[in-house]
């Protein structure tokens, strides 16, 4: 009996602590930040933009009213948060933040000072996506208020970023990977690229002229080589997420467009699947016909690095499914299938080599993290650091080999020759 009383008393005492009353907040007290934008300030050091969720029923209602965008200038990120509390009747919190968007200007100056407080923060998760915009982050977030398909940008960004697995046109870039790239002696960081649709008549004219100058083969080859804001389109969301921003240490040094980002994904082994359009392998048909194949990365690339001779060989292992053969040639079988496989392999190897050279000559930064493969060549950490991979990377001779095999041919086994062709 005595024991039972003691037990009940202790249980009652425990309840006092279990309510977590000191750290409790009513849900309607909190202002959930879902997107964070960082620009250079005009009157203070930074201009911080918060997109806040306005909780309301999921069904019905206007997407624009589902969130509120505010900008505040302050000496730091957290000072901006405090200042915002003085004109918003909510306590702002990062616990549901989804992405951090920084302006090009900030990224060029160096991101380390902005990433550091985010990594230290108990509210911000390292899984937050990190993006760079060529314009102002505040304008982009404001423009994105009019969502078309979702009510909240958090869900919108999640779906957008999942495209890194389905199209490969953007990388899965988060704070975690950026921070590790920043601190590793074997790689350099990257971020995703985000921008707004450019609607000026000048831009439309410029695009038109550019397209007129290109022949069909060039159009096919350059088909996805867009940066945000360059996609020729009408309708959809105000924002575009395509390509990546490359960094040397913490400073932005250049961009990769959508097409290049795909090869970046292939070379890092992060490409899952995506359809690629090639000009027809037959030189006579190349100008008018295309072949579309869905490419799947069979396994991670094999990277062999010869440190003495400064040579690097990368082997890509790809599989594919034919989605379209416009010429009507029977590329599904026999000699033509092998010809197609060789052609795709050569094309991918060529483009991948070109991209690596760009990072060697233009960026002088190993954004692929090839240097991480050299870890096994050294016995100790000091030896590896002393080798100084990042400074030697631009001098390496690179060769890329691709093994591509057609595994499936869609719903068709072969392309039957049409009567006209027979005749």
């Amino acid at each position: 009996m005595k024991q039972k009383i003691v037990f009940l008393m202790l249980l009652a005492a425990a309840l006092v602590f279990l309510t977590a009353c000191w750290s409790s907040h009513e849900t309607d007290e909190l202002g959930y930040i879902i997107l964070l934008g960082i620009d250079k300030g005009e009157r203070n050091i930074v201009n911080v933009t918060f997109q806040l969720a306005i909780p309301q029923p999921i069904e019905g209602g206007d997407a624009e009213k589902a969130s509120e965008v505010i900008s505040v200038e302050a000496p730091s990120l957290f000072a901006a948060l405090e200042l915002a509390d003085s004109f918003i009747s909510k306590h702002l919190t990062f616990i549901h933040n989804k992405a951090i968007i920084v302006s090009e200007e900030i990224a060029q100056e160096g991101l380390d000072r902005y990433i550091n407080p985010l990594v230290r923060s108990r509210e911000v998760r390292r899984t937050n996506f990190l993006m760079v915009t060529q314009g102002k982050a505040s304008e982009l977030i404001q423009a994105n208020k009019t969502l078309v398909f979702e009510r909240y940008p958090s869900r919108q960004i999640d779906i957008f970023m999942a495209a890194s697995r389905t199209t490969g046109l953007l990388p899965h870039a988060d704070i975690h990977r950026f921070y590790e790239g920043l601190n590793s002696p074997g790689s350099q960081p990257i971020a995703a690229l985000i921008g707004m649709e450019k609607k000026s008549p000048e831009k439309e004219k410029e695009d038109e002229l550019k397209q007129q100058e290109q022949n069909s083969k060039e159009k096919v080859e350059q088909g996805l080589a867009y940066l945000p804001g360059e996609i020729p389109r009408k309708g959809g969301n105000e924002i575009e997420i395509i390509g990546l921003a490359a960094f040397r240490e913490d400073k932005l040094i250049g961009y990769l467009n959508g097409k290049e980002t795909r090869f970046y994904q292939l070379l890092t082994g992060n490409f899952v699947r995506g359809s690629i359009t090639f000009p027809d392998p037959d030189p006579k048909e190349a100008g008018s016909n295309i072949i579309v194949a869905e490419i799947i990365q069979g396994r991670k690339p094999e990277v062999t690095i010869d440190l003495r001779q400064q040579k690097m060989k990368i082997r890509l292992f790809l599989e594919g499914e034919i989605l379209s053969i416009q010429s009507g040639e029977n590329y599904e079988q026999g000699r033509l299938r092998r010809q197609l496989e060789d052609y795709v392999s050569r094309t991918i190897s060529r483009e991948a080599t070109r991209l690596i050279r760009k990072t060697q000559e233009e960026f002088r930064a190993d954004i692929f993290g090839f240097g991480e493969n050299t870890r096994t060549d050294f016995l100790t950490w000091q030896d590896w650091i002393e080798y100084d991979w990042l400074s030697k990377y631009p001098q390496f001779e690179v060769s890329v080999e691709t093994e591509f095999h057609v595994r499936r041919t869609g719903m068709m086994m072969r392309t039957a020759p049409s009567e006209q062709k027979e005749g």
């Binding site: 000191w22 108990r122 899984t127 975690h176 590790e180 870890r375 050294f378 030896d383």
Partner: protein
């Protein structure tokens, strides 16, 4: 002689929690600080060394069947020096448990309750430990045995969920700071397994048939802990590679926070934190129990329950002695994971030397 008996599996679970709880706080960080990329090999090397030392100590226990280490110490060193040595061990367990109390409480502030006073959390932990011990060591041992299954499932699930972040290249260069440094760290890191010595103080809780298994319990529990430490550090290094691995206050929490398996499986750390908090209570209770057991046997006190309140207060005081969390973590790391081996393994080995060279012990005769 105690009437309470603890079974073989239950005692193994108690020891796994007592030694292995470090994996949930600073161990992965500290081991990569000392071993860099070789951090994942250190638990294997130091664990094997510690295992060897335990086998020697177990031989000493075999020489004095049914006697706890407190009694053996007094027999070998005489009452005066024996009590002094026993009190050193008592202080070791008291201080490490006190520091752990502070670290667990700070971890809760960091992860769940940022605005709650530290003292309130510490009191909550102490109440839990006090209650567990008041109910008795038998209940504590059985709870440990049951809890271990859930802790294991939780741990394996969480480590597997981090798979998208795994990068096997990050566990190289294999020798970290070099072979010399690796060897030195392996020797010092045996301290991380030092709590195995608690087994030698709990001899009276075994039935005579189970006493022969003490050596085996130590071997099994250390084997499980080596596996736990190695897998934890390997995953930690693959997800948060060196040198960023040395920055994190609570490595496991940082790992939990990194779980992202798409829109619907993210922000899941709250699930795992419950396991960690529960295990922390168990760890404090076991630490307090071992402390009191050593004191009880040294001072020949028949019961430990009347001391519970007093020692909870003492633990609370020790927990709040360091000025800040950085100081606490540093102290705890140095004390229980680096130099502590001098006490936990050093003193018993000294006794082994006296017993073996002097041909002392019942079985030796």
């Amino acid at each position: 002689m105690n009437k309470i008996r603890i079974g073989y599996s239950e005692m193994t679970a108690v020891l796994v929690i007592l030694i292995g709880m470090k994996a949930f706080i600073g161990y992965p960080r500290m081991i990569t600080e000392h071993g860099a990329t070789a951090g994942w090999l250190l638990p294997i090397a130091s664990g094997a060394l510690a295992l060897g030392l335990w086998l020697i100590i177990a031989r000493l226990l075999e020489r004095f069947p049914g006697k706890p280490l407190t009694a053996i110490t007094e027999l070998l060193l005489g009452p005066g020096l024996g009590i002094a040595v026993n009190l050193i061990m008592f202080c070791y367990f008291l201080v490490t448990t006190g520091l752990l109390l502070r670290i667990f409480s700070e971890s809760v502030i960091l992860s769940l309750l940022p605005e709650t006073p530290l003292s309130a959390i510490a009191v909550f932990y102490l109440f839990g430990a006090w209650y567990a011990l008041y109910y008795g060591v038998e209940a504590l041992a059985r709870s440990s045995y049951i809890a271990l299954v859930y802790i294991g499932i939780g741990l394996v699930t969480s480590l597997a969920a981090l798979f998208p972040y795994y990068d096997f290249r990050m566990i190289f260069p294999v020798m970290g700071f070099g072979f010399g440094s690796f060897l030195k760290s392996s020797v010092f890191e045996i301290s991380s397994f030092g709590e195995v010595i608690a087994l030698a103080y709990l001899v009276s809780y075994f039935s005579s048939s189970d006493r022969a298994k003490i050596k085996k319990i130590g071997v099994w529990s250390m084997g499980v802990v080596i596996l736990l430490f190695t897998s934890m550090v390997t995953v930690y290094l693959m997800v948060l590679p060196y040198p960023t691995s040395t920055e994190t206050f609570v490595p496991i929490y940082q790992l939990y926070r990194s779980i992202f398996l798409g829109h619907y499986v993210q922000r899941v750390e709250a699930v795992f934190v419950i396991f960690a908090a529960f295990t922390a209570i168990m760890r404090i209770a076991i630490g307090l129990f071992v402390t009191l057991q050593i004191l009880k046997d040294t001072l020949k006190i028949p019961y430990y329950r009347p001391l519970l309140g007093l020692f909870s207060l003492l633990l609370f005081t020790i927990a709040f002695t360091p000025q800040n969390i950085v100081e606490t973590v540093k102290l705890e790391s140095l004390f229980s994971m680096y130099y502590g081996g001098a006490i936990t393994f050093g003193l018993p080995l000294l006794l082994c030397a006296i017993a073996f060279l002097g041909g002392k012990g019942e079985k030796a005769k």
